[in-house]
Amino acid sequence: MNSRVVEMQNKYAEYAISLIAQGIMDDQFNRVQNMQDNSNPNFLSEILSSYLGDMPKLIHSLALDLQQQYVDFVKLDKTIHNIKGSSSSIGAICVLNACNAFVACCKEQDIEGCFKCWEQTSNAFALVKLKLEALLILEQQIRAAGGIVPKPVGY
């Protein structure tokens, strides 16, 4: 096999493992990667692109809601719930953890706490976005070189 492709595949596998080791993603991400197969070879990029495309609007809407004169904590909670759902489905554990803290602040109706949690959620998502976009670039490079994207180790 083309040694360049092998090198890229190894880089991809190591990078994917590092996302979990760093606590950015969790094992659910491995399961999502493992779903990619010949019947849908673009499954991972489609799912991640959908997630990365939807989240900024939701995070922005949280910011707008927090800036209202009278904060609607029920509305905030619903939006956080949406972010939690998607994040847990793709294994973005750092975003999920930030959302759990946010839910707690909403429950307390702690506006100052909510602002801090919003910042943490926003930063967590920014990190996930950066890392997943880099992974998708590696995936594109492997395919362009005629290689197959490796499955996660142990799957």
Binding site: D37, Y51, D54, H81, G85, S86, S89, I90
Partner: protein, 124 residues
């Protein structure tokens, strides 16, 4: 593939990522599938006479949520296996959701262990 039988499933979720993942799990394991983006669309499937062995019902959705949709589907006399799913940790909300007419509830996300448990119930 976890089953050789041909089951029909309806995935009800307003989130495209969750829908895609649930659909992938189901189709990979031999299910025929349809999709509803909210509870109202789900109810309409049954009102039009569609039959499903399994409904994966999200809890919080716009237009009509999972609680309302489950109650309305049961009111139509539907006996399909309805499994609620949500990322909520509120035991009160989960219990209310179950009381609306669910057969069971699983926290999100879907995985093979949960799907196998669901298939076993369908095969019984």
């Amino acid at each position: 593939m976890a089953t050789t039988k041909k089951f029909m499933a309806l995935v009800v979720d307003d989130d495209s990522v969750n829908r895609a993942i649930n659909l992938k799990y189901l189709t990979r394991n031999g299910f025929e599938t349809e999709v509803a983006k909210n509870g109202q669309e789900a109810v309409e499937y049954f009102q039009m006479g569609y039959k499903f062995d399994l409904v994966l019902m999200d809890m919080e959705m716009p237009i009509m949520d999972g609680f309302q949709a489950t109650m309305e589907i049961r009111a139509l006399g539907v006996k399909s296996l309805i499994i609620g799913m949500s990322s909520t940790a509120s035991q009160v909300k989960i219990q209310e959701f179950v009381s609306a007419g669910l057969d069971d509830f699983y926290p999100k996300p879907m995985n093979m262990a949960k799907l196998i448990a669901i298939i076993r119930r369908l095969e019984d």
